[in-house]
Amino acid sequence: MPRVFITGLGFITSIGNDAVSVTQSLRELRHGLELYPPFQTPEIPVKVAAPVRGFNTASTDAEDWTFPAGISIKRELLRGMSPHVVYAWCAMQQAIADAKLGEADVSNDATGLYAASGGSPYLMGHMLERMHKLGVMRCSPLGIVASISGAVQFNLVAHFKIKGSSCGFASACASSSHALGFAYDDLVLGRQKRMFVVGAEDGNMDAILPFAGMRALSLSTDPATASRPFDTGRDGFVGTGGGVVLVLETEDEVLRRGVTPYCEVVGWGQSSDGHNVAISHPEGLGLRAAMTNALRSTGTAPETIDYINAHATSTPIGDASEARALRAIFQPSGARPAISSTKALTGHGLSLAGAMESGFCALAVRDGFMPGSAHINQLDPECEGLNIIRTTLSQQPKFALNNVSGFGGANVSIVFKQAR
């Protein structure tokens, strides 16, 4: 079976806009949360978010947006974009440069792109308001492609001239892990030689606040502790946005191009709770099955896993459910892999989460560290017996596992391995 490697990464995240600053934030447990200015009004009980820095996309008019120095996007391209597409576009450029891909490597029949985002509720809302107010024919001609949930791959596939497989995945917070999993399958099946995997979210008011209705958001006013997965005092997640791109390639391509990969993607597994439209199964049955499938299909024994990047978003039910799933998988063999949720630092990126945290795993495996689970004051007793690391360990994980869970009870686990 062909082996698959990660050869390039691009990051626009709340903890850094490139791999170097992201690595530093992960090692030093620097978070990206703040009192988000648009939330600081009395009607909004949520105060903290983790926005990306250096981009101003507050206007509904894309031509008003400002970007960090060195980034400029032609109007012709910008008009079909929403904030998350801009982030993904920037991350894509980083990933291409990082993987040392030339134009011909990016644009050919054997190179595809799988993506995930929740679309742009912000621009969608603006467009619908305009339609109701000014009439159907006054909608922006590109309002749809800029705002529906496929926006990110429509834009990237067209602008980077992708010729291979392309589609989007919509399993909410599991989306971009599904994208990575199916990209892996396409490479293993010989359908493609190279796949870009993209996760992106606007992470602005309209993308985050609708979660307040289901009481899923933290109401904390302290950015330093608002996101605290596995802590007894956790009270909901903190929203974030951004864009992350991973480059996956077959072993043949890695050897042909002579590049050094971050790590190997060994395989993946998924499973569904079949339980509730929005709430995790209390025993974490679906996530347990996803991990079991991932370990079995990759022939990995639980005790060989060194590091787990947990999905734990800092919600009371979700974190406990994942803790039970982890106990069920690892305790029987006495394995004590290091476990952390980097969402304490980044906030929860929804469709972005799987790609972002897979990217973190790739950095950890290559650079030899395991980021700590920050902001835990008092560990939830549900985690008893689990090795939840509070500080960053300077040890190189040989095997790492990333978990995600999405609405509808969709769960995905991916196994990464040191490249040799």
């Binding site: 031509e63 032609k74 109007r75 008009r79 000014l134 024919m137 006054r138 922006s140 001609p141």
Partner: protein, 327 residues
């Protein structure tokens, strides 16, 4: 022949015959809508909205087009003639055209149908179109682009005496191109061992473009069709040659009608090679007639079965236009 159909009266409704009162909040929303356009476009829009005077419209339309053109191409609009093409010269695609339309509708308080847009290919087309809509006039015939096959199909003049390779014809004039191939028979003797395009032939080419305009672009009296077999040269004024033209040169020809009253049509014409002026004619006058007035005797009797005169002339016998200028 759908182009000759009378314009849909539904398209000819006047807009803003009496302007709505222009409130301060209208000015604010106009300023917001035109914030990326030149100040002069905004000023013209304010004037138009206050007075309803269509003279302000071209500056608004050009200002809006300019705003949607990539900055490095905007220079082309600075001293643009009306033949500047939206797609080829300005890089405006159909989606950008929709953005332009939405902003024009918003700013000029008008509505434009999708099918009205299909024929707008040049800046001149757009200006003419908006002007006609605002004044409540019938829309002009769209610019027609004719390759050599179509030119040869309608012209009374045929190869080897046809000096047009391609042409575009609108209601305001015609443009054409002719590449001097070097294979033209007369170049063997004009001059000895020194092939130079005769100025008389260059004038002939302009005259042929004028013939094409009469057949494809001119709006004759209602119900009349100009007969291709009744167009002849009558005279010219102010013809000057500025540049020696040789094999390999591409002549860019243009003519514009100056006066047209049955049976005479007078044009001005010019020829360029690249940016260099090659020749001008201040006036070229042709005589023409309508097909109904003198129906050419049809050769096969079968054409007369129902006794009605054809509305479109049958293929005429070639009657070359004769240029009288001396080389």
């Amino acid at each position: 022949m759908p182009d000759a159909a009378p314009p849909n009266p539904g398209n000819a409704k006047p807009f803003l015959a009496t302007p709505k009162p222009f409130a301060p909040e209208d000015e604010a929303s106009l300023r917001e809508a035109l914030k990326r356009c030149s100040p002069s476009a905004f000023e013209s829009a304010v004037q138009y909205r206050k007075t309803g005077n269509p003279e302000h419209v071209p500056a608004v339309v050009i200002g809006i087009i300019e705003r949607f053109v990539e900055p490095d191409l905007r220079i082309k609009l600075k001293d643009a003639d009306d033949d500047l093409r939206l797609i080829e010269d300005l890089g405006i695609d159909s989606l950008t055209m929709m953005e332009i339309v939405i902003l024009v509708e918003d700013v000029l308080q008008m509505s434009i149908n999708n099918d009205e847009l299909r024929n707008l290919r040049t800046v001149g087309d757009v200006k003419m179109f908006i002007d006609c809509k605002i004044r409540g006039l019938a829309l002009p015939k769209p610019t027609k682009f004719l390759p050599i096959e179509q030119i040869a199909a309608v012209m009374p003049i045929q190869p080897p005496f046809l000096f047009l390779n391609e042409a575009s014809v609108s209601s305001s004039g015609a443009n054409g191109k002719y590449k001097i191939s070097g294979q033209e028979l007369f170049l063997q003797g004009h001059f000895k061992n020194n092939p130079v395009m005769p100025a008389s032939i260059m004038l002939e080419a302009l005259g042929q473009l004028a013939v094409l305009f009469l057949l494809e672009g001119a709006t004759p009296e209602p119900g009349k069709v100009i007969s291709s077999s009744m167009i002849y040269f009558t005279g010219c004024e102010g013809v000057r040659a500025h540049r020696v033209c040789r094999p390999g040169d591409i002549l860019t020809l243009s003519i514009k009608p100056k006066r047209m009253k049955m049976p005479l049509a007078t044009f001005e014409g010019a020829i360029r090679v690249g940016q260099e002026k090659a020749a001008i004619a201040e006036e070229i006058t042709l005589t023409f007639g309508y097909a109904e007035a003198v129906v050419p005797p049809p050769a096969p009797p079968a054409a007369e079965v129902n006794g009605t005169a054809p509305t479109k002339p049958t293929t005429p016998s070639a009657t070359p236009l004769r240029a009288a200028a001396s080389a």
